[in-house]
């Protein structure tokens, strides 16, 4: 047994040494896949951990938490809850996202009752120079990361914008490290006073008496709480907080796994060809007494070694990558999901193990098919020279591939699973794998159809490919996979971008936009401000927009409640309505126009009647239409400005759109607007063009990661091509020797290889384009829709794809040529004598 093992070690070692270059590529490909996957996982986990730590700071170790809309709920609820017999302690909180006055950005400020928060949320209790700092109306405590971000220390001041006036707050101290996330704490009374929240709270955290049943109390409270106010255990709010980014995180993970998938394909190509090259050697081992099972197992073990090496490297590289990415792009990788979250990478053993296993698994799966094939071979015939080709010539039955295809098409029609497009991914995987399985036949058919070139190298290249379609397919697997994924992503992103572009056209009809702040609770334009702005010379008409947030479902993120003047008889003028709209009749409740996510998630369809929790009441609305909104993934409801004002008395505005008189100039009006109101200098004034540019920049930044992951997939595809070509050339060096004898020049042999590379790549590209197009449909209509609930129109970037295809073709041809060159540098002449 010992000698057996040793001899196998020698065989494997020899094979590894002989194959060092391609082996390195395989290891690199697995490493790249694992690195990307692990990095994405680390970053996502860091962001979520940080987010949950931040939420945990706020929630402390409350048993239940009461959450309301951002506008808050009546503080009498606190009195009611504090009086409940099961409640040991109730900690009231006023939470605002305050707009910073001196710099751009915002700061989450928690107004707490230090006495009641102390036992529940100790992380929020600051230590001032004296105890009263926690109670003073002008003091604030910052978390470490907030202090770092704002570059302030104890004694400095922070200005936040309330309305349009700055309010100066003295930094009385920095919270302990327990308080994670970018937040600030001040006295609850001060917060109510300063931010116009008198009588309002946004959350109450409850500590129950020992022995009290949290679930029972939750059920009981649920029935009595005002509309729009939710009671949950803290874990649930974490779920809600992370739900918004979940689809994004999962999609990113899947995208990263694609790189690993193509890495596995690369291992497949390399192993397949390496095993073919060693076919006689392996046959000899079989003759010498190694069983089929031993052989297969040992060949798979070789794959596992490659996988383990790659995975180990990948984990290290992934950590480094994540560290760099987080440092330079933040934990959302530029997508904007985790604002105010300061992630720290933490190594969790299970994640490292998972990605290690995935890396090894990909490599093992990649080497499984060739290993089984090698084990299945009849040792007798395999021992004969020339049998190498035969192994790759066979065309297998097409049925499994076709079955996978059909399964994929079927899966694309299935609904999401817990908000995730699981079947969309399944469909894509099925189509890809099915295509790869069908590749020999597809390649065969395509190559048959190709015209035979006149020049000998080209003709020979085509003959060779036609003669051994299996061999071409091995190279093709990685190419087809990476090209189709890249093409599908390119089409999806282009469609998305074009749709965003079109959408921006429709949502930016005015001449000028002025904004106090869309995302914060504190900065706004008062009705007096609006009057003054409307009176500025050159202003023909203004359209104020108010943004609030309401909670429709405690398990989900808050939904934006927007209000502006909308013409109910034709809302298309003010909203990018998708599909039909309903004009409310005289006995209908007031109209509300909802965004696509709302229609998807909450089933708000045009004509249906809904109730929205506004100002602590359940207010009936008629869904009068669905509009497209790429700005708020959590969903938004637009109601008439008059409706909101009459319901809440809130006549402020977050932003205003301006239509100018024909003779007015943008510049002059902009300046006049800023000068017209106190604090006007804090307004952001922008033209539609500027907003469009910023939006598209944000869009591109969001997709920068996807581009990077795509590029990695393509890179691995090219690795695969290069690797398999190198292996093929080595395997065919006798043939080249013969051709050299027969009078083919080196250049002609090179040309032949380039032609083969070209033909293989062309086939790969053609199939990749076709499958990519199909997958893009799944991405657009299934994955994206189910993940983000965004509708978009298909837009194929023909020119870009053309350029991409040409570049890829050139690159692939070059890759084939270079790897052929390298292989040709060995003495092919002697190879004709080299009968194993």
């Amino acid at each position: 047994m010992r000698s057996h093992v040793t001899s196998w070690g020698a065989v494997t070692g020899g094979a590894f040494r002989a194959n060092a270059g391609r082996l390195a590529l395989s290891v690199a490909a697995i490493a790249l896949g694992v690195a990307l996957g692990y990095a994405v996982q680390l970053i996502n986990q860091a962001a979520v951990n940080e987010l949950s730590a931040g939420l945990a700071t706020v929630a402390g170790d409350a048993d239940l938490e009461i959450r309301g809309p951002r506008a808050g709920f009546d503080e009498q609820l606190f009195v009611q809850l504090a009086g409940e017999s099961e409640v040991a302690l109730a900690s009231p909180v006023v939470e605002v996202d305050a707009k910073l006055a001196r710099e751009s950005g915002e700061l989450r400020i928690l107004g707490i009752d230090v006495f009641r928060a102390g036992p529940i949320q100790p992380g929020l209790i600051g230590e001032g120079e004296d105890g009263l700092d926690t109670l003073r109306p002008d003091t604030i405590f910052l978390s470490t990361s907030a202090a770092e971000a704002l570059r302030v220390r104890r004694g400095d001041t922070v200005d936040v914008l309330v309305g349009l006036s700055p309010v100066e707050l003295r930094v009385a101290g920095v919270l302990s490290a327990q308080a994670t996330g970018r937040l600030a704490v001040m006295d609850i009374a001060a917060a109510q006073d300063r931010f116009g929240r008198t009588g309002r709270l946004t959350r109450i955290d409850l500590r129950l008496r020992p022995g009290a049943d949290a679930d029972a109390l939750k059920q009981r409270l649920r029935a009595t709480l005002p509309p729009g106010v939710a009671v949950e255990k803290p874990q649930a709010s974490l779920r809600a907080a992370t739900s918004l980014s979940r689809a994004y995180r999962v999609n990113l993970n899947v995208l990263a796994l694609v790189a690993l998938f193509t890495g596995g394909l690369l291992v497949f190509s390399t192993q397949a060809l390496a095993i073919v090259r060693r076919r006689t050697q392996l046959a000899l081992l079989r003759v010498l007494g190694m069983t089929r099972r031993d052989l297969a197992r040992k060949l798979v073990a070789e794959g596992a070694i490659v996988g383990a090496a790659g995975a180990a490297l990948g984990l290290a590289a992934g950590y480094a990558l994540a560290a760099v990415a987080v440092r330079f792009f933040g934990s959302d990788l530029g997508a904007g999901y985790f604002r105010g979250v300061e992630p720290r990478l933490g190594v969790e053993p299970w994640a490292a193990f998972l990605f290690f296993a995935l890396g090894v698994g990909a490599a093992v799966l990649g080497s499984l098919a060739p290993a089984l094939e090698a084990a299945r071979a009849q040792p007798g015939s395999a021992l004969k020279a020339g049998d190498e080709q035969r192994a790759l010539e066979r065309l297998r039955t097409p049925w499994p591939g076709i079955a996978l295809w059909l399964a994929g098409l079927g899966a694309s029609f299935l609904p999401p699973v817990r908000g995730l497009p699981v079947f969309g991914y399944v469909a894509i995987a099925c189509l890809l794998v099915g295509t790869i399985m069908l590749m020999p036949r597809v390649a065969h058919a395509l190559l048959r159809a190709a015209p035979r070139p006149r020049a000998v190298p080209g003709a020979l290249a085509l003959d060779q490919l036609r003669g051994a379609p299996g061999q071409a397919s091995v190279s093709l697997a990685a190419v087809v996979a990476s090209v189709s994924l890249m093409v599908s992503m390119a089409i999806m992103v282009a469609s998305f971008r074009q749709s965003v572009d079109d959408w921006l056209d429709r949502v930016l009809p005015a001449d000028l936009y002025v904004r106090a702040s869309m995302s914060t609770d504190t900065a706004y334009l008062s009705p007096a401000d609006l009057d003054r702005l409307a009176a500025v010379p050159g202003v023909r008409r203004i359209e104020p927009l108010r943004a609030q947030q309401i909670l429709l479902d405690p398990d989900r993120a808050s939904v934006a409640l927007l209000a502006k003047p909308v013409d109910a008889t034709d809302p298309t003028k003010q909203l990018p309505i998708v599909g039909t709209f309903v004009v409310p009749g005289s006995d209908d409740p007031p109209p509300a126009w909802v965004t696509e996510p709302m229609a998807d998630i909450y089933g708000f369809t045009p004509g249906s009647r809904i109730e929205l929790p506004i100002a602590g009441r359940r207010v009936p609305f008629l869904v009068a239409g669905v509009w497209r909104d790429y700005a708020r993934q959590q969903g938004a409801v637009m109601i008439g400005r008059d409706t909101l004002v009459s319901l809440t008395g809130d006549a402020n505005a977050n932003a205003v759109a301006f239509w100018l008189a024909p003779d007015a100039t943008l510049d002059a009006v902009s300046r006049a607007l800023v000068a017209a109101i106190p604090g006007g200098g804090h307004l952001e004034v922008a033209t539609p063009g500027e907003i469009r540019d910023v939006s598209l920049t944000v869009f591109d930044r969001t997709f920068a990661v996807t581009y990077a992951l795509e590029a990695a997939a393509v890179l691995i595809g090219l690795f695969g091509l290069s690797s398999s070509f190198g292996a093929l050339v080595l395997a065919r060096r006798r043939e080249f020797g013969v051709l050299r004898h027969l009078g083919m020049t080196r250049r002609q042999v090179g040309a032949m290889l380039a032609a083969e590379g070209f033909a293989v790549s062309a086939v790969g590209l053609a199939v990749g384009l076709a499958i990519g197009w199909l997958i893009s449909l799944i991405l657009i209509y299934v994955v994206n829709r189910q993940s983000f609930h965004w509708g978009m129109e298909l837009h194929v970037p023909w020119i870009g794809l053309g350029i991409l295809g040409a570049a890829l073709l050139a690159l692939a041809t070059l890759t084939a040529l270079v790897s052929g060159r390298r292989a040709m540098s060995v003495d092919v002449v002697r190879a004709v004598k080299d009968d194993w």
């Binding site: 003669g467 051994a468 004898h741 009078g743 083919m744 250049r747 002449v829």
Partner: protein
């Protein structure tokens, strides 16, 4: 037709191994010789040098009056393409080309127009007894048949020099005899100068003349 003048070849290594030393050989058009010798004595090297696939350390090799040692790789390749034909022990019929395509390969490389080439290929296949197998794939053929294809391919473009390296090494004695007879017949039919390298006395016996390669040079006659 073919002259080797004081050809010397050594392989560099830990200990330089001189394979050929001062080889002289003059062959006229139509000469068909067999070269015998022990393994490792340099028979194949001799063929490679003649074919221009390897370069001598010293001496001249003239093919049709052209010193092949002075040609660059491309010129050598063109020379090989036009003036030489090869028969290998392992046949080396390209598996992905049909029999006819294999035979047509040298003509294609020489740019012989399709119709002429087709006629020549048909003629050659008939000559080697495979008239009806032109469309067959190599895997459908036996070893003897494959070597017939190789012979057809080696001679289809009427080379001036034919080089055969153990052409029957992979064949049974009966097939071997047939192939050797066929080879001789085709060589003579095209009036080519041919060198047959072999271990087999029987094979060598089919040549016009037998030379034996030893450490000290080429000598007439067969030594066991």
């Amino acid at each position: 037709m073919l002259s080797l003048r004081d050809v010397t070849k050594a392989y560099a290594g830990p200990r330089t191994r001189t394979v050929l030393s001062g080889i002289r050989l003059e062959l006229a058009r139509g000469d068909y010789i067999a070269v015998m010798g022990e393994s490792g004595v340099g028979k194949s090297t001799l063929l490679n040098l003649v074919a221009g696939l390897d370069r001598p350390d010293a001496g001249e090799i003239l093919v049709d009056g052209v010193d092949v040692t002075r040609l660059d790789d491309d010129a050598l390749t063109v020379l090989r393409r036009a003036r030489m034909g090869f028969v290998f022990q392992a046949f080396h019929v390209l598996p992905y080309l049909a029999v006819g395509q294999n035979v047509a390969l040298p003509l294609a490389l020489l740019g012989v127009p399709g119709r002429d080439a087709d006629a020549r290929v048909a003629e050659m296949l008939a000559a080697v007894g495979l008239a009806d197998r032109g469309a067959s794939m190599p895997r459908e053929l036996s070893g003897g048949e494959l070597q017939r294809v190789a012979i057809a391919r080696a001679l289809v473009h009427r080379p001036a020099v034919v080089l055969a390296d153990e052409p029957t090494g992979n064949l049974d004695p009966e097939s071997a005899a047939q192939i050797l007879a066929l080879l001789r017949e085709r060589i003579k039919a095209s009036d080519a100068t041919a060198i047959l390298v072999t271990h087999s006395h029987a094979a060598a016996g089919t040549a016009d003349r037998i030379l034996t390669l030893t450490r000290s040079g080429l000598r007439d006659g067969a030594h066991a």
